[in-house]
């Protein structure tokens, strides 16, 4: 019930902001939604892991970064388009994620939360530093013409490629919703998230489920790594802001609330682009975002203490 009300409030805000922007500055709306798609598509798998495995994966964005590097060098070597590499990348990163889970995170599931945070944070550092050692801090970018595709409506011109991120976010949210609510394996995963002891009692292999869910999340973030490469330059720490933002979005939405991640992402994307339109300053946008996060989380914990 509480989740539903929160979703409603966030959605109403997002809708109101959207309507206002549409009239006032359509490009802010368009680029805001595109950014929202990117944030949501990356945050949703983190929310999945938090909701079911109950781990905050601070290496989340770094998994994406690794996937981007892997895609870049494979595509370079084979003269391939990153779009073709999306599915293979997802499969390879899923296997990689599963191995990392079995070797490290699985052993920390019963440890105190702080230890788990330190572990995943350590993994993040190992990933980005390993890439830094091998490939240096140089940036890499795929030269692709289709990413500069644009569209004119009246006197308005805007880039449309980044709408693929919106499509990815909708696909992830819809697909996961279907998986968790309609398939037996998905229901079992949901059951493990809600009550691991109860799940074991009915014959579900809890640790195997954790591993599969983690691998699935890393597969999605791996697919995003390939997609991200079409649009952006990559460098060793390119993933870490996404870890931060994903974590904030998931915290804002509340555990296990995928629709909430979508609306929180819209809020974030619009706010950022709105502020950029005003000030032309990126730093400002980040500050406001984190202030917003702090307000939301504080108001929530105050409410939690009251009840």
């Amino acid at each position: 019930m509480a989740l539903k009300r929160r979703n409603l409030i966030i959605s109403v805000f997002a809708l109101a902001a959207t309507a206002a922007l549409l009239l006032w500055r359509p490009t802010v709306l368009i680029y805001g939604l595109q950014a929202a798609g990117l944030y949501a598509a990356i945050a949703i798998p983190m929310g999945l892991v938090l909701g079911i495995v109950h781990i905050v994966n601070l290496a989340h964005g770094e998994f994406m970064m690794l996937a981007s590097y892997a895609t870049y060098f494979t595509c370079k070597a084979l003269g391939m388009d990153p779009l073709i590499a999306i599915v293979p990348t997802a499969i390879v990163t899923a296997i990689f994620g599963w191995i990392i889970f079995q070797l490290t995170i699985r052993r920390a599931l019963k440890a105190p939360e702080l230890n788990q945070l330190i572990l995943t944070f350590g993994i993040a550092i190992v990933f980005s530093q390993a890439i830094n050692l091998v490939f240096t801090s140089q940036t890499y970018k795929m030269p692709l013409d289709y990413v500069s595709a644009s569209m004119d409506i009246g006197e308005l011109t805007f880039g449309i490629w980044s709408f693929v991120f919106v499509a990815a976010a909708i696909l992830f949210a819809g697909g996961l919703n279907f998986f968790l609510k309609r398939t037996t394996t998905g229901k079992a995963a949901l059951a493990v998230g809600q009550n691991p002891k109860g799940a074991a009692i009915v014959g579900i292999d809890v640790y195997r489920t954790y591993g599969l869910v983690f691998a699935l999340a890393i597969a999605l973030v791996g697919a995003m790594g390939a997609l991200f490469l079409t649009k952006s330059a990559i460098f060793p720490t390119v993933g870490s802001p996404f870890t931060m933002k994903s974590f904030c979005l998931v915290a804002m939405a509340g555990v296990g609330n995928i629709p909430g991640i979508l609306s929180a992402s819209v809020l974030l994307g619009l706010t950022e682009n709105f502020l950029r339109a005003f000030r032309g300053s990126r730093e400002w946008a980040d500050i406001v975002f984190f202030v917003l996060i702090i307000v939301v989380i504080m108001s929530r914990s105050l409410k939690g203490r009251k009840s």
């Binding site: 079992a188 059951a191 109860g198 292999d205």
Partner: protein, 233 residues
């Protein structure tokens, strides 16, 4: 069916069970004892939730000491835990489906099993779309029992099934147990000795980590110690 020999078990340094031996055949067996006697600990040891310190547990002719919980469930042991352990954010129906979906001998007969448990607990059929977490304590207990039965178990273990229930529902639960013992082996722990003696064949009294009395239901009902300590006469 279930055979426990010299079971020792505990938490940290504290020993809770000090060499317990117990059998459950094709029958209904009660396990009584005051709060903190170790009844839940014993069940946890059978279900692979607690490590055995010493002793042996055999189920259906196989040594099972230390087997993982989900494998015990798949072998045919269904547990109705003291704390129910439902999936609160899922519908009653999904809770029931999951009771059978991962059990090799039950996953093919989910609709039939569902009809069976709905016949035992008609209220659950009415409420099958309701989220389990929004139901009353008594109804949640019924969901937990129904979920366990979905797996078509060989052995059904119930940990204090009447705890916190209003009397009318307690009577209903024990009525169901009387019905069930015709087809499945049952081990049930209870504080409500008077009511449960009517639905068991044999019983054990566990005190301070040891079995102090073992007798038929009739024998327990007339045992002076049981009368004084558990039936309040």
């Amino acid at each position: 069916m279930l055979k426990i020999r010299g079971l020792e078990c505990g938490y940290g340094r504290m020993r809770v069970l000090e060499g317990v031996s117990l059998d459950v055949g094709k029958e209904s067996v009660g396990l009584f004892g005051p709060n903190g006697a170790g009844k839940t600990t014993l069940i946890g040891a059978v279900m692979g939730m607690n490590k055995l310190w010493a002793g042996e547990i055999e189920f259906a002719g196989r040594q099972i000491g230390g087997t993982d919980t989900h494998l015990m469930a798949r072998m045919g042991v269904a547990l109705v835990p003291q704390e129910r352990e439902l999936f609160p954010g899922m519908s009653v129906e999904d809770n029931l489906v999951l009771g059978a979906a991962y059990i090799p001998h039950a996953k093919g007969i989910i609709p039939e099993q569902m009809e069976k448990v709905f016949a035992l607990f008609p209220i659950l059929k009415e409420r099958r779309k309701q989220l389990a977490g929004t139901m009353s304590g008594g109804q949640q207990r019924m969901v937990a029992i129904a979920r366990a039965l979905m797996s078509n178990p060989k052995l059904l273990i119930l940990d204090e099934p009447s705890l916190g229930l209003q009397p009318s529902i307690v009577a209903e639960v024990f009525e169901v147990l009387r019905e069930l013992k015709k087809t499945v082996s049952i081990m049930v722990t209870e504080q409500n000795v008077r009511e449960s003696l009517k639905s068991i064949d044999r019983g054990y009294v566990l005190e301070n980590g040891k079995i102090v009395i073992e007798d038929s239901a009739e024998g327990l009902r007339t045992n002076p110690y049981v009368l004084k300590s558990y039936l309040g006469i």
